[in-house]
Amino acid sequence: MSAHASLLRARDLGRTYDGYIALGQFAIDVAAGELVALVGPNGAGKTTFLTLAAGLLEPSSGSVSIAGQAAGSIPARAALSYLPDTPVFYEDLSVAEHLEYVASLHGVEEPGSRIEELLGRLGLADWEDSLSSELSHGMKQKASIALAFVRPFQVLVADEPFDGLDPPSREVLFELLAEARGEGAAVVVSTHRPDVIAAAGRCVGIREGHLAYDGPADPAAIAEFFDAEELSPGRAAGGG
């Protein structure tokens, strides 16, 4: 892969907690238009990597850059959209107000049409004036997805975004991811779902904080590195 085309780059990236290595010497390049499925058993380090890329965690060693800027810097925050595994909302703002607010924070002019489009596609149109406490888990997840897509980005990192979604919403999310790729975004999605892995062009596997696999999203090739149980949806209870 060309280094110049890399929108997300990690070099010798490491993170420890009181001596425990959550991520060690991790390296990755993700190019524009690429969709990477990040796989690995629970506790492997997937969420740690994604939050490091988002700038929510500070690395213990190494570096991670977004569009050539250090993760967490203002240009990197403008370039990266982070979709967390647990939706996070203000308890006193409605879904539509969240979307308007996040769009405004990212300098989106006239976000109305994009908000309407996302609400419609994700089946949230009837819930736009609802507070988060009035939403089911699936609805919250859909609102969280809308928040990730309402703003411009060059890199999208999503932590188990398909969890809790019904089949039509999963299809919408696949479409949104494909559109983002089509517009030149680099996308990294942590997942345990075979259908998401199959849709990705590339698969990166992490085990015990270290890179275990980096290659095509070919089930046979991946199976050499991970047990089927480690990646099955039935075990997809938590982040890495």
């Binding site: 965690l57 996070v88 107000e97 308007e100 607010y101 405004s104 924070l105 990212h106 006239e110 928040l147």
Partner: protein
């Protein structure tokens, strides 16, 4: 589309943030129950005014003696500075763990991850804390000033102004230190060392009777009407330094680590809920988590295996093991609380007898840490009920180790009081009181730590607050009453130790009644569950 946040077409990020906060504030105010707020203000004024009136009556005594004034001129600023330095130490430690701001999780996720200046986003939150703290400090300072001028030289205006200014600067300094540590991302060791240096410097000032530490200089502001000449002038650099720390903290607040902010956001939300239902036990546990106060992996000392078949010895051993895994910060805190209690007792003995209730409150705070093993038995009823020992015996045996530890703290306080007050009578009173006061403190803390916060939800908030405050009040009385009566006996020319001993017997009897009540509480809980 919904009506949204207001309708400005193309706001910049920071403008959007300001507009959203303003909208949320407006909504919050709109949702407030005005009558409820007025009722609370009314209650606050009634009880506050009542308390101040009682205090005024209690300490409205003769002016301080010339000897006491000499001591105050030489040492009081340093003593106040030492207390302030301890606050700064706590602030630095809180800052090294991501404090003092408790930012909403949504604010971290949406605002702080947006491409806007984090300093500009966080400064209003810090300024809001500063406003509240400075105002409360100034009011408290003015109230204290209103009492002090009756006993010390200086006009009411001088004392009220000096103490109000000092009161406003204390939270500003502590907040500034915390913001500085947080924004500059000081590690806990560095922040703790810096704080410790300031405390040691201020302690040296106190011992030597000089004013060199910045905290002592600020302390000079609190006693400005007493001082004159160069000592009084030192209050100016002290105040300027405090403001400089605050300014540096506010300027650097954007450097706050997001991972610490996220962690604090989750814990602070739980903490607010626990405080709202007066769940003191959960508040303590969450506060420890906020401060990353974890038991040591390696104990200070490994106990040799005990002999099997002795439940009492096993429980004592388990409790001692808990103490031996205390992190250094908890050990230091407990020791400082003992020292502080002793110093306060000595000061109150010679100056303001009403303040003799304060040592008990400080020791009660320490006791809440000391009864931790017992509180854990309360946290895990199933584990408790599986033990082949009745719950009453279990609880009373768990009180042995905390009582021993608290007796040690009372002795630390006694030694401090003797040193500060230069009065050997303090040693006698302290030794006589040490065991009954320690047992009473352990019982009071156990009442708090093992209370069922949801048992009183059907009562009014005022009753809930009273139930929550009762153990602390009892602890203040258990330590303060013998001291007040012994002081009174001394002033009347009587024997202080015999009076203290008589009251100690009474306190011991009350503590025994408290233990019986606690045994009954656990009997009822376990039998009730078993029956269910």
């Amino acid at each position: 589309m919904s009506q949204g946040l207001g309708g400005v077409e193309t706001p910049t990020g920071i403008e959007a943030l300001r507009r959203m906060r303003s909208t949320r504030r407006r909504r919050y105010v709109e949702q407030l129950d005005v009558m409820e707020v007025l009722y609370r203000v009314y209650l606050g004024l009634i009880f506050g005014g009542f308390g101040v009136a009682i205090l005024a009556g209690a300490i409205n005594e003769a002016p301080a003696t010339p000897e006491a004034l000499d001591w105050m001129r030489a040492h009081l600023a340093a003593a106040i500075g030492l207390a302030l330095a301890t606050g700064v130490y706590a602030g630095l430690r809180a800052g090294s763990h991501g404090g003092p701001l408790a930012i909403e999780a949504a604010e971290v996720q949406h605002a702080l991850l947006a491409p806007i200046d984090r300093g500009a986003a966080l400064r209003p939150l810090a300024l809001r804390q500063l406003r509240i703290g400075a105002l409360a400090g100034a009011v408290l300072g003015a109230v204290v000033g209103n009492f002090v001028f009756r006993r010390l030289p200086g006009s009411p205006v001088e004392w009220i102004a000096a103490l109000a200014a000092f009161g406003a600067l204390v939270p500003a300094t502590v907040l500034g230190a915390a913001l500085l540590a947080s924004g500059r991302r000081l590690r806990p060791l560095a922040a703790g060392s810096l704080g410790f240096l300031l405390v040691a410097w201020s302690a040296a000032d106190l011992a030597l009777g000089v004013t060199t530490s910045p905290a002592t200089m600020l302390g000079e502001l609190a006693v400005l009407p007493l001082q004159g000449g160069s000592k009084a002038a030192l209050a100016i650099p002290g105040a300027l330094l405090a403001l400089a720390v605050l300014a540096a903290g506010l300027l650097g607040v954007g450097g706050t680590l997001l991972e610490a902010a996220r962690r604090r956001a989750a814990l602070a939300a739980e903490l607010r809920f626990s405080a709202s239902v007066s769940d003191l036990r959960t508040v303590i546990l969450l506060r420890r988590q906020l401060a990353s106060e974890r038991p040591r992996r390696r104990p200070w000392l490994r106990l040799r295996p005990g002999r099997p078949g002795k439940p009492g010895a096993a429980i004592l051993r388990r409790d001692l093991q808990s103490f031996l895994r205390w992190p250094p910060v908890r050990v230091v805190r407990a020791a400082l609380l003992g020292v502080g209690a002793g110093a306060l007792a000595a000061g109150a003995w010679s100056g303001a007898p009403a303040a003799l209730v304060l040592p008990g409150l400080l020791l009660f705070v320490a006791a809440l840490d000391v009864v931790e093993p017992l509180a854990q038995e309360s946290d895990h009823p199933t584990r408790r009920r599986l033990l082949p020992i009745d719950p009453g015996s279990l609880i009373s045996r768990h009180l042995v180790a905390p009582s021993l530890a608290l007796a040690a703290l009372v002795l630390i306080g006694t030694a401090t009081a003797a040193l500060v007050g230069r009065d050997t009578a303090a040693l006698g009173v302290g030794v006589v009181l040490c065991v009954p006061a320690a047992i009473a403190l352990a019982v009071c803390a156990t009442f708090s730590a093992t209370a069922d916060p949801y048992g009183n939800l059907l009562t009014t908030p005022e009753v809930q607050y009273a139930i929550t405050a009762a153990p602390a009040f009892a602890a203040a009385v258990a330590v303060g009453l013998p001291l007040i009566l012994a002081r009174h006996a001394e002033r009347q020319g009587g024997a202080t130790i015999s009076v203290a001993a008589t009251v100690a017997v009474f306190i011991a009897a009350l503590a025994a009644a408290g233990i019986a009540f606690l045994r009954q509480r656990f009997f009822k809980r376990d039998l009730g569950r078993a029956a269910a």
